[in-house]
Symmetry: C2
Subunit: 470 residues, 2 copies
């Protein structure tokens, strides 16, 4: 049995941030090469701290879904996942045995050599009849003075594509460092120019900055009086959203997996947790804000506040992804980065078999079954705030300066609306929903949402306690 | 059967704002002169729009718990309660028959002649051995240029107390109009001076403004070189919090009630709603976020998320007031002006008989039983937003300018966290908790909390949708 874990950045604010990771996970899941494809996030759930617990096998390959190496892939992810590694990741990845699981951590997908194929695919989409006679290619990177490696991969890909001989010329240009993208009319001589942004996703840069810096008016723009004569620019979509990235991910995973001689087993504790959950589910179970009931060989899942509502008045969902997407926002349409906040939307029911129920619950309440089962077995170890704070780096390092009063004030706001009981703050939780108390879910450690709010507080950027101003 | 209704201002932010009304209601309830004493608020629940529905009898006397006549007693309360009256209220009050109830609306307690007794009581508390030989009395009002009547009652009380001959002199001074309180050293000649603030409650004025304007250092302050020689000032507590106000309220109510020849009956619809509720409660009922279960002749009420929790791990409450006070704030300690927001705290259970259960539920979910029963009988009439907006005056009149988009954006934030289904916005609610759907509670009309938020939006004072800034 093998588990593949895709790690995304996620967002506390933007509900679409995780969409790309969702999509690749679905594509790879559909190929059936792994027994499960699990997602984890820095700013969503399951968090980097929790995600390993949510994997079902003892053979886990972790892929950082980032376009380049840097702070997240070298510092944040290894630290938060407890990989015992910091700094550049070697080409073969990092392998560790953690709590009974063999965990392999790879380079980010963006630095894999096969990304040149993705660049080429994007170029051909933008200009199917490109030719070495008259077509130049610009590979466009972000570039930064903070990380010397982030431009290297753009240069490498440009070089590979140059040697392929498919373009009249190939250029590596950047938004934030020389050679800057705005210099293209001087640099590029060919009458047709394909521009492929080496970016993870559509966003401010691909939609605003690049078109503005290059003078583009859309997918195709013709410049009549450039220094080298008339030129037409074909603007491709970013590489990071191309479906071929799924192949890159699988390449990375297979190359890292080469280190293992055989598949893993079912992870014992994980199996016990879900087995206990299914035992309860078969008799009908309330946990958190939801209610699961057996229904002629299947299971029905719905918001407990919707109990008794005729099925035809609820939206019926039949896939785990349907449940995920319906409950991704609250009833006011706001993103829910923390799933145990008491704001799960009503108005839906899911009808599914056992395997899909498990995945739906993993989306509804990421890591909750595993952590609550551990709590009921007295094996969940809380991490005190001081430890969490000390571990923070970068812009979050300042949370170490929070006074106990500041922490409590922020926790009152953030955790006051959460189902979880803060073991990390000394609260006790003698029963859980495994014992019939629906709202009893442990919180082993301050989440990144709280950490981010504490940072705002320390920076003096938070308002008063209430979110409303009157 | 007779109902007494006390109307307070309440607050969307300050959880202590309603405390004085709570206290007088409890004192009057304890005397047993009325079959029920009900509270209603402008900015809390039950709202002025709902409070009449929550009264059990057809004979209702409504007392505005305000210190003086003005905008609230003459405009807001009569309008929101649908009394069909605007402007000054005659001494005998206003009587109307509304939906089968005889409703009498009185002057505010502060203008009742017996308030001079309360002033005297406060003066004697501050200086028990006051004497006409050497003691002056200052009755201290707020005063305002906006309402000419607000000073009148201070002058009247001063005159009554002057004629009583118990003080060397009696002065009416004001914070915001002449004669100003700061002129007291010139105006008052007696060596001992009692100051009684004619204010509704302790607050910024009684704790900060008055002491500062008068140069007071505490309950007793001696001034050694005043124009008229040494003077000692005895600073009394505000009249509005004196327990004798309960007598004033009863005077007002009895004088207004004089208009009726006999007691009222049980109000039929109200009785039917609670009878239906009790029928369900006897079989165990989930409604909103709570769960009620029969327990050896009594009832146990608790948060549904605490179902199954051993009783000894919950705080056991045995009075309706205990339930009210425990659930007045959310788990983060924030005031809950809207009780159907999905933030009722957990950690408690109430064990009580039928009569107390009814009152506890009235505190937990004000007007919810009555409105939900009406909805289940198809008699709840929604008030569209346009009607609510048009009715607003004063600082809220501008909500009429809100665009449909602004309204929806604010409603997404405010109503997105509320159990209620917005009938006033066209949403449908075919079942209710009377039909076994715990979370199904109707919202017949935009609440003042939403109106206030819409006003902020129109004024450009609201932030983005999310309450957190990252």
């Amino acid at each position: 049995m093998r588990s593949l874990v895709l790690i995304g950045h996620g967002s506390h604010l933007n509900g679409e941030s995780a969409a790309a990771v969702y999509r690749y996970a679905e594509m790879i899941r559909a190929r059936g090469l792994y027994d499960e494809v699990v997602e984890g996030y820095w700013k969503e759930e399951p968090s980097l701290r929790q995600v390993l617990k949510t994997t079902a096998s003892t053979d886990v390959t972790v892929i950082p879904m980032f376009i380049s190496e840097g702070y997240f892939t070298e510092t944040v992810i290894p630290r938060e996942m407890g990989l015992g590694h910091q700094g550049p990741v070697p080409p073969e990845g990092v392998a560790r045995v953690l709590g009974g699981r063999t965990v392999r951590y790879t380079l980010p997908y963006g630095v894999h050599p096969s990304m040149s194929d993705v660049i080429l695919a994007r170029a051909h989409e933008a200009l199917p009849d490109s030719s070495p006679e008259d077509t130049a290619l610009i590979v466009l990177g972000h570039g930064t003075t903070r990380n010397e490696n982030s431009n290297k991969i753009v240069y490498q890909n440009a070089e590979v594509l140059r040697q392929s001989g498919q373009f009249a010329s190939v250029h590596a240009l950047f938004l934030d460092e020389d050679p800057k993208v705005g210099t293209w009319p001087e640099m590029v001589k060919a009458p047709r120019v394909v521009v492929v942004p080496f970016f993870a996703s559509e966003g401010w840069h691909t939609l605003e900055t690049i078109p503005e810096d290059m003078g583009l008016e859309g997918a195709v723009t013709t410049f009549t009086d450039n220094p080298h004569g008339q030129q037409t620019v074909y603007y491709a979509k970013p590489v990071g959203t191309h479906s071929a990235v799924a192949d890159v991910i699988l390449h990375l995973a297979e190359e890292a997996a080469g280190a293992s001689t055989s598949d893993g087993d079912t992870e014992r504790v994980h199996g016990a947790a879900w087995s206990a959950f299914m035992d309860r589910a078969r008799q009908g179970l309330r946990f958190g804000e939801v209610l699961v009931q057996p229904e002629s060989g299947m299971f029905e899942l719905r918001h407990a506040l919707d109990e008794g509502k005729p099925g035809h008045e609820l939206q019926t969902l039949v896939t785990p992804e349907g449940v995920r997407d319906f409950t991704r926002r609250d009833e006011g349409g706001h993103h829910r980065p923390v799933h145990t906040l008491r704001n799960m939307p009503r108005g839906w029911r899911a009808v599914m078999g056992e395997a899909d129920l498990v995945r739906a619950v993993q989306y509804l309440y990421p890591a909750v079954i595993e952590e609550t089962y551990a709590q009921s077995c007295h094996t969940l170890r809380p991490t005190p705030w001081a430890t969490t704070a000390r571990r923070q780096t970068g812009i979050y390092a300042r949370v170490q300066k929070a006074t106990p009063e500041q922490l409590e004030e922020v926790a009152a706001d953030v955790c006051g609306g959460c189902l979880r009981t803060r073991l990390w703050a000394g609260e006790k939780l003698p029963q859980t929903f495994f014992d019939g108390v629906p709202g009893a879910i442990p919180c082993a450690e301050a989440c990144t949402f709280l950490v981010a709010e504490v940072r705002e507080e320390v920076a003096g950027k938070r308002g008063g306690g209430a979110s409303h101003s009157h």
